[in-house]
Symmetry: C2
Subunit: 278 residues, 2 copies
């Protein structure tokens, strides 16, 4: 099944299940994260009798995720592009849910002139996970979605820690839908485009640390809960790795696509003026 978080006419959001091409049935939960927080969420979906929604407007899939944990340097080709060696352990960093935006939202950036793209497969956590092994972690995967870990490279590279280049509010599109594992298959082609030009591609079969392995690893030190997201890293082709480096310009359209899940298409509004104190 494919689940989405859609904006409603009243200014809120609702979880919804896809019933056809761009047609949804509303579910009794405010978003996919809230839905997954109901232990019997599959039964809730099966009993769906809500409003039909024909022109979906996608909100961030899990706007209230307590944790959005990202893995860097996880595709062999991207690791080489960044000039690094294959890792023994996953490189992890944290975002807050304020970073998330919907699949077709405009992304506003104030105060960075080096806005870069990172097309990623994201894993949606479906049940609590703490100190779990890989089999338990695999069972806890509710589904997969598309994300772009948009990164302000000027801020990211100011210090050793990437957080300040990665945690900008409303700059990480995620969606449009979550696809459950039974429908999604095992591996994914991940692609990124700028103004229609293919700039990134990779297949998740080349991940150094796969979804279940990442969830298990993270759960050794922190609990994961329904609606939490784990971003699995980006393949080669980021702008920072190009010669010369290339970054998003005001008005550019960033497209992030995973076969079998869907497509993010976000227009960027970039105001590179220096903000207060920056």
């Amino acid at each position: 099944m494919k689940l989405a978080t859609l904006r409603t006419a009243s200014g809120g959001t609702t979880a919804a299940i896809a019933t056809g091409d761009a047609t949804y049935l509303a579910l009794p939960a405010s978003d996919v994260g809230a839905l997954l927080g109901q232990p019997d969420w599959r039964a809730v979906v099966d009993a769906a009798a809500g409003e039909t929604i024909g022109n979906p407007e996608y909100a961030a899939l899990t706007p209230n995720a307590r944790k959005v944990i990202c893995c860097g340097l996880n595709y062999g080709d991207h690791i080489q592009e960044m000039g690094r060696e294959l890792p023994e352990y996953p490189t992890l960093f944290a975002k807050y849910a304020d970073t998330l935006v919907g699949a077709n939202d405009a992304v506003e950036v104030h105060g960075s002139g080096r806005v870069d793209w990172e097309a990623e497969l994201a894993v949606v956590v479906g049940s609590e996970l703490y100190r779990a092994d890989e089999d338990q972690a695999r069972e806890a995967i509710a589904g997969y979605t598309v994300a772009n870990d948009v990164s302000m490279r000027d801020w990211q590279n100011r210090t050793l820690q990437w957080f300040q280049g990665k945690a900008w509010d409303a700059t990480t599109p995620v969606g449009p839908v979550m696809v459950t594992p039974d429908e999604a298959g095992g591996h994914f082609d991940v692609r990124g485009y700028v103004n229609g030009e293919l700039v990134q591609q990779g297949n998740t079969s080349t991940l150094v640390f796969g979804p279940a392995q990442l969830l298990s690893y993270i759960s050794q030190f922190t609990i994961l809960r329904p609606g939490d997201l784990v971003l699995t890293g980006t393949p080669g082709g980021v702008g920072m790795g190009m010669t010369p480096p290339r970054f998003l310009q005001d008005g550019d359209i960033l497209t992030t696509e995973i076969d079998g899940i869907g497509c993010l298409e976000n227009t960027f509004r970039i105001h590179s003026s220096v903000a207060a104190n920056a």
Copy 2:
């Protein structure tokens, strides 16, 4: 005024105001973060008519903080101890609220053999702050508290990003109280002790980036809200910097003290056995 989050007999928590030495008056909010989320929180405190609590049991000060953002490398002496140069920008990384524990709670660690201490002044955010200058940031400081950014150095040093050594659930004591700026004064002596032996000390007058500067800087890219915490970094004297390096052992008592605020005293239970998949 001094505010705390205290455990109640019914298994919950309550915000409370100190009325004397270890005597509190309960406030109508579940914790200090929830209290600060009420725009008229000072009036709520002034009108306090709750139960008197005589044997306070401290919970984490803001157990539901949406953001816990830490600054590394912020004391001149600690920066030199770590072999680095004085920074142009603050080094920031993120934690989640699951890391927080109360001022006298035992801290359990499973799967690390290099548990280190980082005594820190923490700033409690009192109102929303986004793209704010330093004056606005200063106005938004609700108060100051004591924290220890306990760090699993083996995990922290596995990769370039510190997150996985810093984000362990229930390992960051914070409290016992928040002191409002009018009572707290401008600078703080921060000290850490292991089993009563002084191992760390510094004065926040030597911070490269002060509290208002940090809040303003962070707010350029992400909103801060009432109850959010910003940890301002640790002075020299961490175990990793010693020759030979020294780490906490099972049964050790870590004390973290700031004059004019209070004292954390946490016993460590360290199970260094390798966890699943780690």
